[in-house]
C-alpha cells in the first residue's frame, strides 16, 4: 500500500513539473547560500585554529617583553642557566614573499610542539643543516615556487602563508640577527626555580591563547556573513512554503479520495513526510553542490578581506568537509519541514470530508492580515526598544532581526490598505476591478512580497552602509595618509644611513615608531609621533580638547583611537593606562578598519619611555611631483628591497582594494538574495496563475481580450513591486542606521557618518521593478496563449 500511496502523491509532480522545479530551486538556493557561507566560515575558523595551535600557542605560557621591544639572546641564555625551560621564537613578515616567518629552536622546544622529528616529516638534522629548511602548508608551496627561499617541505600542520624554520635561518631571512620575539615556557618547569620577575623583570608571562585572538577578532565579520546567509535561507524558505502550501491544497481532494478508498490518515501523513524527505534530499544535494561553488567563488575574496582587515591568513581553497555536507542536508530537511509544517499539521487534522479550497488558500482572511499586522507592529516596537536601550552585538543583531521580521509581517497589511484606498477612488470599471482584484491578490502574494521586501531593504540598507563607509573611508585615508612616501628599513643602521641622505632632500621626516602592549587593558599599539603640521592639519579627530596638539607636543596628553575610547568608555580628559605610564586623553581620532586599540604620544616622550624600540618606519613629506623619482633613487642607492619605499597612492590603492574586496562578498550575497526573492515572486505568481482563471474568465467573457488581461496581470505585479520598494526604502535606511550606529559600533568599535544616496535607490528601482515585471511575464504569456476552451470550461463548472 505504501508504494501505491507514495506513487500517487508523487504523481502530482509529474503533472505539475514547474511546481516541482520551483520547490527544488527554492530549497536548493536557500541551502546553497546558507551552506556556502557556513563553508567559508568553517574554512576560516579551521585556519584560525591551525594558527592558534601553532607552536603550542594554545598550550604553553609565553614570555614577552614588557615594552614590546625584542628580547635579546643574552636574556634567553640567562634564563636557561637559571634552569628555566624556555625556548626562543622569532616572528616576522617578509614583504618580498608575503610569508609570516617563524624561527624556532627545535632542541629546546617543548616536546611535540615543533613539527619535526615526529617520524613523519623532516628530522632535526635536516632542520639544522647549513642549507636549512622551511616548513610550509602545501598550498603555500605552490605560491612560492619562484621565491628565493631555502628548500621547502610541505606539511598540513601549518596555516597558509606561514613558514617555520630554524631560528638562525629565520633571523637571517628577516634581517633580525640575534633578535627573539618571545620565549615559550615548557609547562614541565621544575619546582624551586628563581622567580621570573627576579631574573627577568623586563619580561612578562602571557597565558596561552584559548581559541585564538583571530577567531575573536573576526567573529563579527563571520557574523555578518552568517546574517546574510540566514536572510537568503529565509527568503528561499518563502518559496518552498508558497509552493508547498498550494500543492497541499491542490492535493487535498486526492488525499480525501485516498482516505475514502481506505488509506489511513496516519499513513498519508507518513507518506507525505517521506515524499518531502525525498525532495529535500534531492534539493539538499543540489544545494550542497551549489553552495560549494558559491563558497569556492567567494572564498578568495573573503580570504583577501580577512588578510587585509585582520592579518588573518585563510586558505583560498575550499576543503569539502563531510560534516559540512551532512549539516547542509540536515538543514534542508529542517527547512523543508519548517516550510511544510503548517500544511502537514493541517493535513493531519483534516476531516475526511473536507473539501479542497485552493482559492480559499490564496485568500487569507482580513482578520488574519490584521493579526499578522499586529504581530509585525509588536516586532517593530521591540526593534525600537532595542534601538534605544540595547547594547552589545546580540542586541544589535536582535534589532536587525526584529526590524526585518516586523516590517515583513506588516507589509501585506500596509499594501492591502494602500491598494484598498486606490480601489475606493478608481474611476472606470476596469480600473475599479483592477484595484479591487489587486487587493484580493495581496494575501496570496504576501509571502513573495515579503521576500522581495527583505531583499530590497537589505539592498538599500547594506548599499547605504557601504557607500557611506566608502565616502568616509576615502576622506579618512586622505587625512591619515598625508606623507607622500613611507619608508620601511631593515635595521636602525640602514635607517640612519638612508635618513642622512634623504633628510636634506625632503620637507620633513616623520618617524613612525611603535610598541605593542596593553592600552587600558586592551591589546594594541602605542605610537610616537613628531610635532608637525602634517598631524595638526590632517589627523582625523572626532573630539579633542582645544589645545590638544600643544598639549600632546608637551607630553601632557595622549590621543586614543575610537575603538579604544568606545571599548573602555574613555572620553576626553579621562586618564588612559599606557605602557610606560598613564596620561590624560587629549583627543579621540577615527581609525577605520583597525581591529586593535591604538594611542599616540609625542615622539620625545615615546623615545624616553622606549629607548630600545626599533626605529624602522618613517613618513617623508615632499612635493608630490618629486615623490616617485626620490623613491626610485633611494631604492637604487641603498639597495632597498621591494616594498621598502611605498608611495602614498600605493597604500591608498591597497587600502581601498581591501575595502572593495571586503564588500565584494557583501555585494555578491546581496545580488543573490535579490535573485532568490525574484524566484519567490515568480513561484507565487506561477502557482497562483492557475487559480486566477475563474477570476479572469468572466472579464474575458465581458469583452476584455486575453492580451489585455495579460498586460493587466503584469501591470499589477509591477505596481505591487513598486509599492514594496516604497516600503523597502525607509526600511533599508532604518537597517543602514542599525548597521552603522549599532552593529558596527558593537562589532568593530567605531561609528561612521551615514549618508543618503538617492541615485542608488533609483538604480535599484530600475533593476527591481523590471525584474518583477519579467517574473510576471511568463504567467501572463501563458494566459495570453490560453485557448478559449480552457476559459469556457470555467463556465461549464468543470473545475473542482
Amino acid at each position: 500500500m505504501n508504494r501505491v500511496v507514495l506513487a500517487t502523491l508523487l504523481s502530482h509532480w509529474r503533472k505539475r513539473p514547474l511546481q516541482l522545479v520551483l520547490l527544488l530551486v527554492g530549497l536548493s538556493l536557500a541551502t546553497a547560500l546558507w551552506s556556502g557561507v557556513q563553508a567559508i566560515n568553517a574554512e576560516a575558523r579551521s585556519s584560525y585554529a591551525d594558527a592558534a595551535s601553532l607552536l603550542g600557542r594554545d598550550q604553553f605560557d609565553r614570555l614577552v617583553s614588557r615594552d614590546g621591544a625584542p628580547i635579546n639572546e643574552a636574556r634567553f641564555a640567562e634564563l636557561r642557566r637559571a634552569g628555566w625551560p624556555v625556548s626562543p621564537v622569532v616572528e616576522g613578515w617578509q614583504p618580498e614573499t608575503g610569508l609570516t616567518l617563524i624561527g624556532i629552536d627545535p632542541l629546546t622546544m617543548p616536546a611535540g610542539v615543533a613539527p619535526v622529528a615526529d617520524g613523519k616529516g623532516p628530522q632535526i638534522g635536516d632542520f639544522l643543516a647549513a642549507a636549512g629548511l622551511l616548513l610550509v602548508n602545501p598550498d603555500t608551496t605552490e605560491r612560492l615556487e619562484d621565491a628565493d627561499l631555502p628548500p621547502l617541505f610541505a606539511t598540513q600542520d601549518l596555516p597558509p602563508m606561514t613558514a617555520i624554520g630554524d631560528i638562525a635561518l629565520v633571523q637571517k631571512l628577516l634581517g633580525k640577527p640575534g633578535v627573539i620575539s618571545h620565549l615559550v615556557i615548557d609547562s614541565a618547569a621544575p619546582p624551586g626555580l628563581v622567580p621570573l620577575d627576579q631574573i627577568a623583570p623586563d619580561l612578562v608571562r602571557v597565558a596561552p591563547e584559548n581559541g585564538g585572538d583571530l577567531a575573536r577578532l573576526t567573529d563579527s565579520f563571520h557574523l555578518n556573513l552568517t546574517a546574510f546567509g540566514a536572510l537568503a535561507f529565509v527568503v528561499g524558505l518563502f518559496i518552498a512554503h508558497a509552493v508547498i502550501g498550494l500543492v497541499f491544497e491542490q492535493r487535498r481532494a486526492t488525499m480525501r479520495t485516498l482516505r475514502a478508498l481506505g488509506v489511513p490518515l496516519r499513513r498519508i501523513v507518513v507518506m507525505l513526510v517521506l515524499e518531502l524527505g525525498l525532495l529535500a534530499l534531492v534539493a539538499g544535494a543540489a544545494g550542497v553542490a551549489l553552495g560549494y561553488l558559491v563558497a569556492a567563488a567567494l572564498l578568495p575574496d573573503v580570504a583577501g578581506s580577512l588578510r587585509g582587515l585582520y592579518g588573518a591568513d585563510v586558505s583560498g581553497t575550499l576543503t569539502l568537509r563531510p560534516g559540512w555536507v551532512l549539516a547542509a542536508l540536515a538543514l534542508t530537511m529542517g527547512g523543508m519541514l519548517t516550510a511544510a509544517g503548517a500544511a502537514l499539521w493541517q493535513t493531519a487534522r483534516m476531516p475526511v470530508l473536507a473539501p479542497a479550497m485552493p482559492r480559499a488558500w490564496a485568500r487569507a482572511s482580513a482578520r488574519q492580515l490584521a493579526r499578522q499586522g499586529i504581530a509585525g507592529g509588536g516586532f517593530l516596537a521591540l526593534a525600537a526598544i532595542l534601538a534605544v536601550v540595547g547594547s552589545g552585538l546580540p542586541a544589535a543583531f536582535g534589532l536587525l532581526a526584529a526590524l526585518l521580521v516586523g516590517a515583513a509581517l506588516i507589509l501585506p497589511w500596509v499594501v492591502a490598505g494602500v491598494v484598498g484606498r486606490f480601489a475606493g477612488r478608481a474611476g472606470g470599471p476596469v480600473r475599479q476591478w483592477f484595484w479591487a482584484d489587486t487587493a484580493q491578490q495581496v494575501p496570496g502574494l504576501s509571502l513573495a512580497l515579503m521576500a522581495l521586501l527583505l531583499a530590497l531593504a537589505s539592498n538599500v540598507g547594506v548599499g547605504t552602509m557601504v557607500a557611506s563607509f566608502r565616502t568616509t573611508f576615502t576622506g579618512w585615508l586622505d587625512q591619515r595618509l598625508a606623507s607622500e612616501l613611507y619608508l620601511n628599513v631593515r635595521s636602525p643602521e640602514e635607517g640612519a644611513a638612508v635618513l642622512d641622505w634623504v633628510t636634506p632632500r625632503v620637507d620633513a621626516v616623520l618617524p613612525i615608531w611603535s610598541v605593542s602592549g596593553d592600552l587600558n587593558g586592551l591589546p594594541g599599539d602605542l605610537f610616537g609621533v613628531a610635532d608637525h603640521a602634517t598631524y595638526r592639519d590632517n589627523w582625523p579627530l572626532l573630539s579633542a580638547m582645544p589645545d590638544v596638539w600643544d598639549q600632546l607636543a608637551r607630553g601632557k596628553v595622549a590621543l586614543v583611537n575610537e575603538q579604544l575610547a568606545r571599548r573602555t568608555g574613555l572620553a576626553v580628559g579621562d586618564v588612559v593606562v599606557l605602557p610606560g605610564g598613564d596620561l590624560p586623553v587629549g583627543g579621540i581620532y577615527s581609525d577605520y578598519g583597525n581591529p586593535l586599540a591604538q594611542a599616540l604620544i609625542t615622539l620625545a616622550l615615546f623615545d624616553a619611555r622606549f629607548p630600545e624600540a626599533p626605529h624602522l618606519r618613517y613618513g617623508l613629506r615632499l612635493p608630490p611631483t618629486k615623490a616617485d623619482a626620490l623613491a626610485q633613487e633611494m631604492t637604487a642607492r641603498f639597495q632597498l628591497p621591494q616594498g621598502a619605499v611605498v608611495p602614498q597612492a600605493e597604500i591608498k590603492a591597497y587600502s581601498l582594494g581591501v575595502f572593495e574586496r571586503t564588500f565584494a562578498v557583501t555585494d555578491a550575497l546581496n545580488v543573490l538574495t535579490l535573485g532568490v526573492a525574484t524566484v519567490a515572486l515568480f513561484a507565487s505568481l506561477l502557482t497562483l496563475a492557475e487559480m486566477r482563471l475563474p477570476q479572469l474568465a468572466p472579464l474575458w467573457a465581458l469583452g476584455l481580450t486575453r492580451r489585455r488581461l495579460a498586460a493587466i496581470e503584469v501591470l499589477r505585479i509591477v505596481a505591487l513591486a513598486a509599492l514594496t520598494l516604497v516600503v523597502a526604502i525607509p526600511l533599508g535606511l532604518a537597517l543602514a542606521w542599525a548597521l552603522v550606529a549599532r552593529v558596527n559600533v558593537a562589532a568593530f568599535g567605531w561609528q561612521l557618518p551615514m549618508s543618503l544616496f538617492p541615485r542608488d535607490w533609483f538604480a535599484l528601482a530600475l533593476t527591481a521593478i523590471p525584474v518583477a515585471g519579467i517574473a510576471a511575464l511568463w504567467p501572463a504569456l501563458r494566459l495570453m496563449r490560453l485557448p478559449p476552451t480552457a476559459l469556457l470550461r470555467i463556465f461549464a463548472n468543470e473545475r473542482g
Binding site: 500500500m1 501505491v4 500511496v5 500517487t8 504523481s11 502530482h12 509529474r14 503533472k15 505539475r16 481532494a253 486526492t254 480525501r256 479520495t257 485516498l258 482516505r259 475514502a260 478508498l261 481506505g262 488509506v263 489511513p264 490518515l265 496516519r266 499513513r267 475526511v352 470530508l353 468543470e798 473542482g800
Partner: protein, 219 residues
Amino acid sequence: MLLTIRGLTKTYPTREGPLAVLRGVDLDLERGESLALVGESGSGKSTLLHLSAGLDVADQGTIRLDGAAVAEMTDSQRAALRRDRIGLVFQQFNLIPSLNAGANISMQARLAGRNAPDWNAHLAKALGLGDLLQRYPEELSGGQQQRVAIARALAARPALVLADEPTGNLDEANADAVLALMLGLVAEAGAGLLLVTHSPRQAARLGRQMRLVMGQSQA
C-alpha cells in the same frame, strides 16, 4: 445480512443550533441486493451513505457490515474496511487528477492488494473506457469520469457498493446507460448496492427503494 443499520442518529451543529440530519434510521441490505435511497435534498441520504462507509461517525445507533460494528472501529480499521470491503462512487467523481484513467481504475484494488488486470480490463471495456485509459481526468467528459469512478469502485470486487448520485451530473440517456452498466457489474461482482438518487425513474430500476423524509425512513 450484509449491512444492518439500527436507530441511526446524526446531528450537525449550525449557527441556529443543532440540526438533526438522521433521526433513528433502520436499514437492512442483503448481499446481491440493490437498494435506492430517495428523498428531498437535505433529507440525510448522503449522510447515511457517509456513515455507512465509516467516513463519519454517528451520534447514536449501530451500523454493522457482515456483523462487524463500524462505530466500534478505530480510524485505521474503518479505513481498512473501506479499502477491503466497500466501493464508493461519488457524485463529483473524486478521481485523482494526477493519475490517468487506467491508474485511477486500479487504484483501490492495488491498495487492497488484489489488483486483477483482467478484471480491470473487463470493467473498462464494459464501461466503454477501453480507449481512454491513458487519458487524465481533465481530458475526460463528465460521463467518462463517472464511468471511471464506477470502474474504480468495482475493481476491488467490494462486498458493498455505496453510490451517491452517481449519475447526477449526466443527461438522462447517459445516466440510464451508466446505471444499467453499474447494476450489471454489481450483480456480476455479487456485491450489495446502496444508491442515492433523486430520480424516481432510476430508483425504480433497483431491487428496493427506501425514502428518507426529514432524517427518518419511510417504506
